[in-house]
């Protein structure tokens, strides 16, 4: 049995997080809304209505095009009508860009775990409106028009991905980028990011493209990975059995983990595209483009690389800290405020700040614990004014109270007890209460020192400097009895 390689392209639909829909003033996001409550004459296609283009949607698409290294963001692009009948398509046509899209010729260099990069090409990127939702319930077909007119960007990759894993990596990176740019919530479960996969196989070394199948209805990255893997296996089995691959459209059933044939795709539908006469050509002049691109941030992979080079972080740290833009901003601000070793800030963030975020379901930008507060806490620990456990507890206290760490240390009396006299008194009390353990220690059970330190820490309310406490305890225990 020869080896096969998979040839995969992904068609993604990205819901832009604009305030209003693409062609009317309804709210773009209807999550949680009752069916047909977020609609108006325009998005439900009443007789006589006209679309007006939401410029915010264009701006978000421009940011994405630029982040995908588009060769050209077209100064002039057009909307077209894609005509077809479907009950949840209220006008009987979808307004979409077609032959003259907003941007062409993008690429994304996808880092693979092997350290290599896979160049994923993007043929074109265009804007379009979403259709409504059809729900089949008890033999009836119910239609919710809330989603009609939600702005989407359609972006189709070339047949550049070579495994189900790579396809999943691409989606993970795309989701990261969309959130980073602030243009989409990119939540697959909520349909903000939708993906169809085109899959074919061939013998490695071949350059032909064999007939492909299209996989629809994958609602998570895991589902995409599993569905593509299943389809690759199926195609290999078919070819091995001497059967041809037919250009089917397949549907992924998440509950059973199987692919189902939706339809044969032997003949292409004719959508009778023509230019949308109700909208003017979309002109993106240099001034507008420059204004939009002034908001384009450093991109995640570039920042990850810089974190390694500039701050000397391990690749692992850099990856985690650049998973999300506000987290990476937070890190840089904390490093600047701290002034010391960036790796120390990274450690605190990777261990403790991320825990805090997870527990509280926040993102770094939402924290009351400011980067300067984190820097101050690390400094207090460095200067031994507080011990490390107190430092960690302080993170939560600052987050809850919004007060500055140094103020809390003062007002709550959290300062580390580093006064030998005070520690000696505490140590003497511990020894006096534990004659059996003292005897055992002195009889040679040296490991009990840890137990004594623990007792002292408890007595100090956790504020004792543990190293100093150990020294004082050892000194007392080694004093001759009497």
């Amino acid at each position: 049995m020869p080896d096969y390689e998979a040839v995969i392209g992904l068609e993604t639909h990205i819901q832009l997080n604009t305030q209003s829909k693409i062609f009317c003033a309804c709210k773009a996001d209807s999550w949680g809304a009752e069916p047909n409550t977020n609609i108006c004459p325009v998005c439900t296609g009443l007789p006589g209505v006209l679309p007006t283009l939401n410029r915010q949607a264009v701006e978000k698409a421009i940011l994405l095009a630029s982040a995908m290294q588009a060769e050209s963001i077209q100064p002039l692009s057009f909307f077209a009508r894609k005509n077809y009948f479907y009950p949840d398509l209220p006008k009987g046509y979808q307004i979409s860009q077609y032959d003259e899209p907003l941007a062409r010729g993008g690429r994304f260099d996808l880092p693979l775990p092997s350290g290599e990069c896979r160049r994923v090409t993007i043929h074109k990127l265009h804007l379009e409106e979403d259709a409504g939702k059809t729900v089949h319930a008890g033999g009836r077909r119910l239609i919710d028009f809330n989603r009609c007119g939600v702005p989407l960007v359609e972006m189709v990759t070339g047949p550049d991905l070579r495994s189900a894993e790579e396809a999943a990596f691409y989606l993970i990176r795309l989701r990261q980028l969309l959130r980073w740019l602030g243009i989409s919530e990119a939540d697959m479960e909520r349909g903000h990011l939708r993906c169809d996969g085109n899959v074919s196989i061939r013998v490695p070394g071949e350059t032909v493209l064999n007939p492909k199948t299209e996989i629809k209805n994958v609602n998570s990255i895991d589902a995409l990975r599993e569905a593509i893997a299943a389809e690759i296996s199926r195609q290999i089995r078919e070819v091995e059995a001497g059967r041809p691959i037919r250009p089917w459209t397949l549907e992924w059933d998440e509950t059973t983990g199987t692919l189902r044939k939706m339809r044969s795709k032997e003949t292409e539908a004719d959508y009778r595209y023509f230019r949308e006469p109700d909208l003017l050509p979309l002109r993106v002049d240099e001034a507008w483009k420059a204004r939009v691109l002034a908001q384009l941030p450093e991109l995640p992979l570039a920042r990850r690389q810089r974190f390694v080079e500039q701050y000397g972080l391990p690749a692992y740290d850099a990856e985690i800290l650049t998973e999300e833009r506000s987290l990476s901003d937070y890190f840089e601000s904390a490093v600047a405020a701290y002034g010391g070793e960036p790796k120390a800030v990274s450690n605190w963030m990777m261990n403790d700040v991320l825990r805090l975020l997870r527990e509280r379901g926040l993102s770094a930008g939402d924290l009351k614990l400011r980067p300067a507060d984190l820097a101050q806490i690390i400094q207090l620990v460095d200067k031994r004014q507080i011990n490390a456990p107190t430092g960690k507890a302080l993170l939560d206290m600052v987050e809850e109270t919004g007060q500055r760490p140094a103020d809390l240390v003062a007002s709550e009396g959290l300062g580390q007890v580093a006064d030998t006299g005070a520690l000696r008194a505490l140590a003497e009390a511990v020894l006096a209460e534990s004659p059996d353990q003292v005897a055992a220690f002195r009889a040679g059970k040296a490991t009990l020192i840890g137990w004594f330190v623990g007792q002292l820490m408890r007595k100090s309310g956790g504020k004792a400097d543990p190293n100093l406490a150990r020294q004082v305890l050892e000194a007392l225990l080694h004093e001759p009895a009497g």
Binding site: G48, L50, P90, Y93, D270
Partner: protein
């Protein structure tokens, strides 16, 4: 029939209502009385057999809105009493072509498929007219979805008739508009022009019809036929009334992306100027028409009717006498492509625009056993669209199909550009002709009899031969009454100008109107007014 308040001009009514000299409710009553006297039974989809009376009445209206109108009129009278100004159209009775959505009223487009549709919103031009004090008396009939030039294709029968001669059609598709205004059932009407649908019925009914520049008046709320051509505009009995109505409707609308951001001039100031020094062109291509012989399909050349031609030549002479310069022999070589190109462009857009009438959301839905959604579509559309929409959908689908669209649709768009270039060249201030406007006939003939042309949709379309080029080019055009033919049917002449030259076109039209103010035909009234 006695003259009434409804026979006054819009300008006079508005000024007198504003001054408190006339009550809006009295003007309204006058219009409603006139409707009772001349309109006969309103159009319905269940008209049954034609009655003898049907042949002598106008049938302009599908829906009357007397209660809504009375509330508007009373509000205007209260405003005047309180010392407020209700606006430049205070108390003027308005008939709205039933292709515009008006909140709370049926908006049918003359089609069974929209018969039950009550709009939840109001079209921008209607909103502006009502805000200026116009009183909407009702919705007037039209060809189904505006697809026609005679009004005979409406699903709401009896179809409108020509007030000058009820044996004749009023023209179309704004036939209800032109007939209502001609018969004094309304003083103004809001129509639409896609190939000549304002100007042709205006000519047939002896009233003024203005198709503005594309984008001058918002299309929001106009039930679309061919979106790149559709143009709302005034139907009135005088040029000054049309100018005042345009003044109110015109201007950019944030709800219509294709509405123009060009400032709206004060048309009354334009009307105060004379025509001295204006260069007005006559084109042989508007006198001798190429058109297919209905039997053989062979393209034949045919002159416009001699009485119509004579009216145009007389207008040229009268304008020359007032100081305009007449330029003859202006070539408009692509004029005769206007109809074929229109056939293709308008049907592609129409087929797409009609997709939404699927029985799912509003309007009529087929009843009975509907096993699947395809059956719902087929039965709804098959049963509720009339012949014209069906023909246009079929042709539109054909010429936009992937394998044909290059040969038909793309080609038609190129032809459209050539037609526009004809106008650009003759209006070019640095060109050979430097015209301010073109003077032509509005229609090759006067109104034809009912059933004379209906059924031949190719020949029917040639009624728009002289008007459609302006729609392709997007330029403004006006039709003004220029006399009566030997059978006492009105003749219309047309003036066409460059983009946004409505003011100048109105000015020339008014100069002609004033020059013929004492013509004997001005005293003749439409037959239905006895």
């Amino acid at each position: 029939m006695n003259r009434g308040l409804c026979d006054l001009s819009a300008v006079e009514i508005a000024e007198r209502v504003r001054q408190g000299d006339l009550r809006a409710v009295d003007v309204l009553d006058s219009a409603l009385d006139r409707i009772r006297q001349v309109d006969g039974r309103p159009g319905t989809t269940t008209a049954g057999q034609a009655l003898a009376d049907d042949e002598i009445t106008v049938h302009a209206f599908i829906t009357l809105t007397p209660d809504r109108a009375r509330q508007q009129a009373e509000a205007i009278d209260r405003q005047v009493a309180a010392g407020a100004d209700p606006g430049p159209l205070a108390g003027v009775p308005l008939a709205v072509k039933d292709i515009f959505c008006v909140r709370g009223t049926r908006s049918t487009a003359g089609s069974r498929i929209l018969e039950p549709f009550v709009s939840p919103y109001t079209a921008t031009p209607v909103e502006r007219l009502e805000a200026a004090g116009a009183v909407t008396v009702g919705k007037v009939n039209l060809d189904e979805f505006t697809f026609g030039s005679s009004n005979e294709s409406t699903a709401f029968q009896p179809a409108p008739r020509n007030p000058w001669d009820p044996a004749c059609v009023p023209g179309g598709s704004s036939g209800g508009s032109a007939a209502a205004v001609a018969a004094g059932e309304a003083v103004l009407s809001l129509g639409t022009d896609t190939a000549g649908s304002i100007r042709q019925p205006a000519a047939f009914c002896g009233v003024v019809g203005l198709k503005p520049t594309y984008g001058r008046v918002s299309r929001y709320g106009l039930i679309a036929f061919a979106s790149s051509l559709d143009c709302p505009g005034p139907v009135a009995r005088s040029v000054a009334d049309a100018a005042r109505m345009l003044q109110v409707c015109a201007g950019v609308d944030p709800r219509d992306a294709t509405s123009a951001r060009v400032p709206v001039p004060d048309y009354s100031q334009e009307l105060a100027r004379d025509v001295r020094g204006l260069r007005i062109g006559l084109s042989p291509d508007y006198f001798r028409l190429k058109y297919p012989d209905p039997a053989s399909g062979v393209l034949a050349e045919q002159a416009i009717h001699p009485e119509v031609e004579a009216a145009v030549m007389r207008a040229a002479e009268l304008l020359a006498r007032q100081g305009a310069e007449i330029v003859e022999g202006v070539p408009m070589p692509n004029t005769h492509f206007g109809i074929p190109a229109y056939f293709v462009v308008s049907r592609v857009e129409a087929a797409s625009n009609l997709h939404r009438y699927d029985g799912v959301k509003y309007g009529r839905r087929a009843r009975g056993d509907l096993p699947d959604v395809q059956t719902l579509y087929r039965r709804t559309r098959g049963g509720a669209f009339g012949l014209q929409p069906k023909l246009r959908i079929l042709m539109g689908m054909y010429v936009s199909a992937e394998q044909y669209e290059k040969d038909y649709y793309q080609r038609a768009l190129q032809v459209r550009t050539m037609i526009r270039r004809d106008f650009e060249q003759v209006f070019d201030p640095a060109g050979d002709y430097r015209l301010n406007c073109l003077l032509t006939a509005t229609t090759p003939t006067t109104a034809f009899e009912m059933n004379a042309v209906y059924g031949d949709s190719v020949l029917m379309q040639y009624a728009d031969l002289l008007t459609v080029a302006a729609d392709h080019a997007g330029i403004p055009g006006i039709s003004v009454p220029a006399g009566l033919d030997a059978r006492r049917r009105p003749i219309g002449i047309q003036l066409l100008g460059p983009d946004f030259s409505e003011g100048m076109v109105l000015r020339v039209a008014q100069a002609f109107e004033q020059a013929t103010a004492d013509d004997p035909w001005r005293l003749v009234r439409p037959k239905v007014l006895g």
